[in-house]
Amino acid sequence: MTGKVMTVEEVVGSLRSGMTVGIGGWGSRRKPMALVRAICRSPLDDLTIVSYGGADVGLLCAHGKVRRVIAPFVTLDSIPLEPHFRIARQSAAVDFTEYDEGMFMFGLLAAAHRLPFLPTRAGLGSDVTRVNPGLRTVRSPYPDGEELIAVPALTMDVALVHLNRADHRGNAQYLGPDPYFDDLYAKAAERCYVSCERLVDTADLLKEGPVQSLLISRSMVTGVVETPGGAHFSSCEPDYDRDETFQRAYVAAASDPEAWKAFRERYLSGDEAAYQEAVRLSRESA
């Protein structure tokens, strides 16, 4: 049973243009950036990205990979606004399905439970209904008669998530304080690929965390990749914090096409190993 261990190139090679891709994590936290960077290097395009968005969305927009973003926000947390997402929106380069955070969670839950929708109050009265004219309401069949927003299931072809540990079968473990919604992405997608900081033997999974930290079961996972530093520059607690210096450099480079070209040349022109090496060198020279 070693068939699930893959490389980032193999994962991305199994994707197709036009797919709907869910990306785990939250903002600039535990994003599967090694897989995102590999998509940026690939010929894939026309993707629909489902994400509590951060630099995953920004980088993919900057590389012209995105047709539509489905998200309640795109942020870098310590830096509120994501520069490449802003550029993409302000030039109308991408379509946007803008949901409330709770609506988005219900969309994930609906998809994970194979339901067509889930009802919620969140979104009522706001312009989320104006900018999503396809959204429908549903009336409670019970005496309360409440009319609520029917959030459609956020079904997706593929989910990409990054966790701290996984075994070669795809059982995956988070060791930080927050699971985010990565298990829901895995359940909502046709296929889920897990990248992890370190592959460990199944027998060793409980050496670092309690049984409750085993977030994703192998039955939900198609492939698993070991990518140390694979969430960089987002955080991957407790293995590493967000690389604030790098994130600032990323944002600064986005403000000017020449600077962005140089940034891409320096960090994003090679494979993942080259990226990690360039990051290491930039730290040494700092």
């Binding site: 939250w26 509590y52 968005g53 998200a71 309640p72 926000f73 795109v74 942020t75 509120p80 606004l81 997402f85 802003r86 929106r89 302000q90 030039s91 109308a92 803008e98 949901y99 409330d100 955070e101 709770g102 609506m103 969670m105 919620t120 109050r121 969140a122 979104g123 009522l124 009265g125 706001s126 312009d127 989320v128 104006r130 900018v131 409440e146 009319e147 609520l148 304080p177 927050d178 699971p179 985010y180 919604f181």
Partner: protein, 277 residues
């Protein structure tokens, strides 16, 4: 009686803390920055001891650490999924920010300009739609200006009184806008048509100044009280315990010497409803 001297930032912290008065055992959620976080913690350490406060990520703190500090005691765990659940459940009073807000309390943090191709993309609506129809909600606006207080917001993220009423009972059942605190004043919606009303002006601020820096007609009572001054004990906690590094002063620079009048009678308690819905 000794004269109390407080900076504008300190007056703002206390005005925000007052928003949580009467809330009891619910989560006081500040959206970040110094003022709202200090407000929740100050309220908990003084007049609202049952409040629940968090560390800015997912820990509910058993103690009340200083700004930027780590809690020594953890009493609970609130990862994002449970935070989003708590929003829907309603046992939470949130103090949101807004890039734009109108006279009925509709707010915008999503984008400026035409949504289809915005002049300036901001955060996205985040949790504002759900927050405002499910939880008691207040706002903290660090720069009171006509750019923020606008006749119409470009993208309704947080739901105001008029929009909640139009959307029907499911939208207004738990809708509960409490107060808007700015660097100049405290505003509420305690007017006949639930439009924004000037509840109090901070010491050193005139009613005319607030009206002038608000981009829509504001309901102004015949007499506008002054926002109450912090007590000596509140100032001690703020300065010595919660924010010895004075981060609050960076968020609201002090306008300089002014003559704070006597604290207005019950100024804080007059703005907004005080019990959870």
């Amino acid at each position: 009686m000794t004269t109390i001297t407080a900076t504008r930032a300190e007056v703002c912290v206390v005005a925000c803390a007052e928003a949580f008065r009467g809330d009891g055992e619910i989560l006081a959620a500040g959206i970040g920055g110094a003022i709202t976080v200090l407000a929740a913690r100050l309220a908990r350490l003084t007049f609202e001891p049952d409040l629940i406060t968090h560390d800015g990520t997912c820990l509910l703190t058993g103690d009340v650490p200083p700004l930027g500090g780590t809690p020594e005691v953890v009493e609970g765990w609130l990862p994002f999924r449970d935070h989003l659940w708590l929003v829907l459940n309603g046992r939470r009073h949130v103090m949101l920010g807004a890039s734009q807000i109108d006279r009925y309390g509709n707010s915008n943090i999503s984008c400026i300009g035409d949504w289809a191709r915005p002049r300036s993309q901001l955060l996205g609506v985040r949790g504002a739609p759900g927050n405002t129809v499910c939880d008691p909600t207040s706002y903290w606006i660090p720069r009171h200006s006509p750019r923020v207080f606008v006749p119409r917001v470009d993208m309704v993220s947080g739901v105001g009184h008029d929009r909640a009423a139009e959307a029907g009972p499911s939208a207004y059942r738990h809708h509960d806008l409490r107060r808007v605190v700015t660097d100049l004043a405290v505003l509420d919606f305690d007017s006949p048509d639930h439009s924004m009303r000037l509840a109090s002006v901070h010491p050193g601020v005139t009613v005319a100044e607030v009206v002038d820096r608000t981009g829509f007609p504001l309901a102004v009572p015949d007499t506008v009280p002054q926002t109450r001054m912090p007590t000596a004990e509140e100032l001690r906690i703020l300065r010595e315990v919660l924010d010895p590094g004075s981060l609050r002063e960076r968020e609201v620079p002090d306008p300089g010497p002014s003559t704070p009048g006597a604290p207005g009678p019950d100024a804080g308690r007059r703005s907004g409803r005080e019990t959870p819905a």
